[in-house]
Symmetry: C2
């Protein structure tokens, strides 16, 4: 074997971002710099109320999103924005994702496996 130790460690795969639900939330927010309201995110990501609420807490604690609540009179309205830090971390995460994909692509070539996904 020729690889160096740690070749497949993927340390850059941030645990906060590397989660199905939060990845969806962040991607949707990344696509909508104008922000999204609670209900929209819920629908876009197919999450339950409680689920979304909890994940937003995590993302807010990490300062990856900003949450603005309007509740004066009328129904409460929660709008969520991705922060600059959030954009940054998200993009770093994507870089790591590409690394994974490229490692796999290289393996397909090397081992002669049938490509299961098309090159970008």
């Amino acid at each position: 074997m020729s690889e160096k130790p740690g070749s497949f460690a993927y340390d850059g795969l941030d645990r906060v971002l590397h989660e199905k639900a939060r990845l969806g939330i962040l991607t949707s927010l990344f696509s909508h710099p104008e922000g999204l309201v609670f209900g929209e995110i819920k629908s876009l990501c197919t999450l339950t109320d409680g689920n979304l609420s909890r994940h937003l807490q995590v993302l807010e604690r990490e300062e990856l999103v900003e949450i603005v609540k309007e509740s004066g009179s009328g129904r409460p309205k929660t709008t969520v924005f991705i922060t600059p830090l959030g954009r940054e971390r998200f993009q770093e995460y994507l870089v790591e994702l590409q690394t994974v994909l490229q490692a796999a692509k290289a393996a397909e070539k090397a081992t002669g496996a049938q490509p299961g996904f098309s090159p970008a």
Copy 2:
């Protein structure tokens, strides 16, 4: 907003595969159809013994890997192979990963964000 519900749900992100450690293990095994021994995987993925052991259990239970143990005389030797099902699921997972990346790329274009990662 124009997207359909569920656009960012990423249901294809299989929970068994969508985990840092296991993703590394599978990628390394995918790259080595001849199999890898316990110690090699441990080194390649920078995992502790217990950690690797546990994740291998999960992967074996899901029939994504095959584990062969030789223990007659001499030190025990555990060799791990990716199964055909494992290759399949892994490749499906990669397809979903590309979806995520492409959604992000599209968002960068649409919102005019600075690319944080280069196109494949």
